[in-house]
Symmetry: C2
Subunit: 239 residues, 2 copies
DNA sequence: CCAAAAGTGTTATGCTTACACCCATGC
DNA sequence: GCATGGGTGTAAGCATAACACTTTTGG
């Protein structure tokens, strides 16, 4: 290994060998208006001017990757508290026409509570930041469509094998609301009784004691328990 | 984004902002002598002189990440044909004491056939490249112990949920040999009858027609079918 | 004939699935 | 009282898990 950092007189950062740029991009999902939403930012400059892109940016030299992802999110929005996990690293040499850019994509789930607060702020700023339905995406910059499709795959997988769907909902929610999340993400109808049995069997939800008053029979509200997130269960296949 | 490549007069590669180095590392697993093995290379220079490290190196500027991983493997060994998948990207700022290095780790499974051929070559070259038991590792450089533990976790997960254990064995193998792979990787005994039923139910193996003659009753040899690898099954949790 | 590994079935249990009706409320 | 979504149980089928003996070969 013989790369070395040298700062030359003209204010550049110089190395013996060329280095790619490294960014993080965040796929931030939430759920509202009965739809799965993803946060995108409209580009104002070429390349891909006017196209929409995932929030993201360069990794600082002294910064962990997931911290960079959170920082980028905090810079574009007022979001502080999300479920975050590394998704995949995308590095095709031609994915950015300007220079080699390798991006470490992170997958994030935002509660509808926070999403609602964000929506107001971004609108008042008149920034070109908004939620898009995963099922009606605009033109996307770079390879972000591929990244998004992969993130959707991961989200589906996650909902099938864990009970983490509630991370997309407000702090309190009804089981029907949760079922709608699952149906919309998995893109298929689920049996109500089986869904409830399965979700409750996962033992990560508890009744909050409140009910959601609506036009009709009130529904019990649930919240997730503290241990819910660790319980992303280690299933065993062999006894 | 305002990074730009500039080659200055002194032969350096210069950018407006500092860039991390990007490497790929490969965790190459195989199975022989009834043990799960991983390929490591002894370092001859500081830092971590004499410690052992994963094969890997810098990503070229015009090279896809997985191609870089395969190239590194080909440079250190004569291996050409492996099952390869991206494992995780490790980027702690202090993981290399010299400069910021972000590594995209790849996970690879090598058939025992190829591992045997490799063993001979690396010994004749007297290179400090060798297989180590996953359960008796030497001192490791950088954060490679963490990477290896994570790779082992992924391998276990893979064997529990798919039938890909045969990728660690020769082209033809007995069911008992395959069971030993599973037992050794998962680190626990398995029931012979249930194991056979489960593996055969996965429908990725076929009898080769040959038998392994040994001291005792000969065992039928199996090989995996062409479709076996794609069949890394998409299980559905909700009907 | 003995040692060693290969090979083979059955039963009990628990989980998954499919399926239809009553309940509580607002208007 | 009616429209709307909330809420509940059961039976059949399937997969899993536990368990022990016979077969085939070489020496």
């Amino acid at each position: 290994m013989n790369q070395e950092v040298v700062r030359d007189g003209a204010g550049y950062f110089c190395y013996d060998y060329p280095r790619p740029a490294v960014t993080t991009d965040v796929i931030l999902f939430t759920f509202h208006d009965n739809d799965l939403k993803v946060l995108l930012i409209q580009r104002k400059h070429p390349p891909f001017e006017h196209s929409w892109a995932l929030p993201g940016g360069f990794v600082n030299m002294d910064e962990e990757l997931h911290i960079a992802a959170l920082r980028e999110l905090a810079e574009e929005t007022n979001i502080t508290d999300v479920y975050l996990e590394q998704l995949y690293t995308f590095g095709r040499p031609d994915r950015d026409p300007r220079t080699r850019v390798i991006t470490v994509a992170y997958f994030a789930l935002l509660s509808a509570d926070q999403a609602a607060r964000l929506e107001i702020r971004s609108q008042s700023d008149a920034k070109d930041v908004r939620w898009w339905s995963m099922y009606a995406l605009p033109d996307l910059a770079f390879d972000h469509d591929r990244i998004l499709q992969y993130a959707l795959q991961r989200l589906r997988w996650k909902l099938e094998w864990t009970a983490l769907g509630f991370l997309l909902l407000p702090a309190e929610f009804t089981l029907s609301e949760l079922q709608r999340v699952y149906e919309r993400v998995l893109n298929e109808p689920l049996d109500k009784r089986n869904f409830r049995r399965k979700i409750l069997a996962a033992d990560v939800l508890e009744e909050s004691g409140n009910v959601r008053g609506g036009d009709h029979r009130p529904a019990k509200l649930y919240r997730f328990t503290a241990k819910a997130i660790e319980l992303e269960q280690a299933r065993r296949r062999f006894p």
